[in-house]
Symmetry: C2
Subunit: 185 residues, 2 copies
């Protein structure tokens, strides 16, 4: 299973970050709307095990995503498995019904507009997402895919790009966790 | 969610049954190979709750199926939800990996060749499957789909067809249960 090495930062001025990305030669891959439906497990609390299961809608496309516990204190390195499902809202409702029949419980929805960029950086291809998240504001995510052997080399590349972009306010919590934190203040 | 009203019988002479079906005007819809991968739940034992979760391969097509507990002592009436997944063996392995990551445990495989028939019977369309199951032998399944209101009307139709075909050896256990029973003799 591939791993994602990912680091997220809060962004004060997303227009300024977008400008800086273009200066660095980043290729914009367009904006998409993502609606994520998160579920908790029938017998283990994902908030404690640091896992996640979600159904994701991107336009008419649907996906199921499992994220394992974070393996590392700085980046968000973790096991991730994202698989396509049949398209459309009706199909999504049926997959949700199947998860519910198995004892998974819907816990929250995360709605965001994501602008995606690709950037060649230190001989690697970094995936960048500039996110506006309903109820939370603006964030940037820097991500590299790596197999187990490549994990240690991926982290310095991410760190150097973050420094170049002047990103300091690292956020290790997921959008889901941030929404929960906000709801329980 | 739709319900299936289904009854299964052991068959001594499948060629004779196939002949009788043709005499009654059944339309043969072709033979298919089905390979079912069954999983048990992370925190409830499906053998006790009378549920089932499986990944089904039919040629290159993949499906995920949840079956709820049987609602009735005679027929196999139960809640069933079968949803398509991406095609191919590689995709199937990934869905299996996702289920495993969520704590589902692979328990058994059921491999069968299924000859399917449609039969107009007493104003209803009955689906018939003549199955040869690896390690178990020949069976016939008679099935009607019904919503909650139609359940009580569906059962006499199935019973009358079974009587007409001379089927007496009703088998309420699933192929999975029969394989387990055989393994634990």
């Amino acid at each position: 299973m591939p791993y994602e090495v990912e680091q997220k930062f809060r962004v004060a001025d997303s227009a300024a970050i977008a400008r800086r990305l273009r200066e660095l030669g980043a290729q914009e891959a367009g904006a998409i709307e993502q609606l994520d439906h998160y579920f908790n497990h029938p017998s283990r609390d994902f908030a404690h095990t640091d896992e996640a299961l979600r159904l994701r809608q991107v336009g008419q496309s649907n996906f199921i995503t499992y994220k394992g516990p974070k393996l590392d204190a700085t980046t968000k390195t973790r096991r991730e498995l994202e698989l396509p499902l049949s398209p459309g809202s009706d199909a999504l409702a049926q997959y949700a019904e199947l998860l519910t029949a198995l004892g998974f419980r819907p816990v929250a929805q995360v709605h965001k507009t994501r602008r995606r960029y690709h950037l060649a950086w230190q001989g690697r291809e970094i995936e960048i997402a500039l996110d506006n998240v309903s109820g939370l504001g603006d964030f940037i995510e820097l991500e590299l895919s790596a197999d187990e052997d490549g994990l240690e080399l991926a982290k310095p590349a991410i760190a150097s790009l973050a420094a170049t972009l002047g990103l300091t306010q690292s956020e290790r919590r997921s959008y889901l966790e941030l929404l929960f934190a906000k709801a329980h203040v």
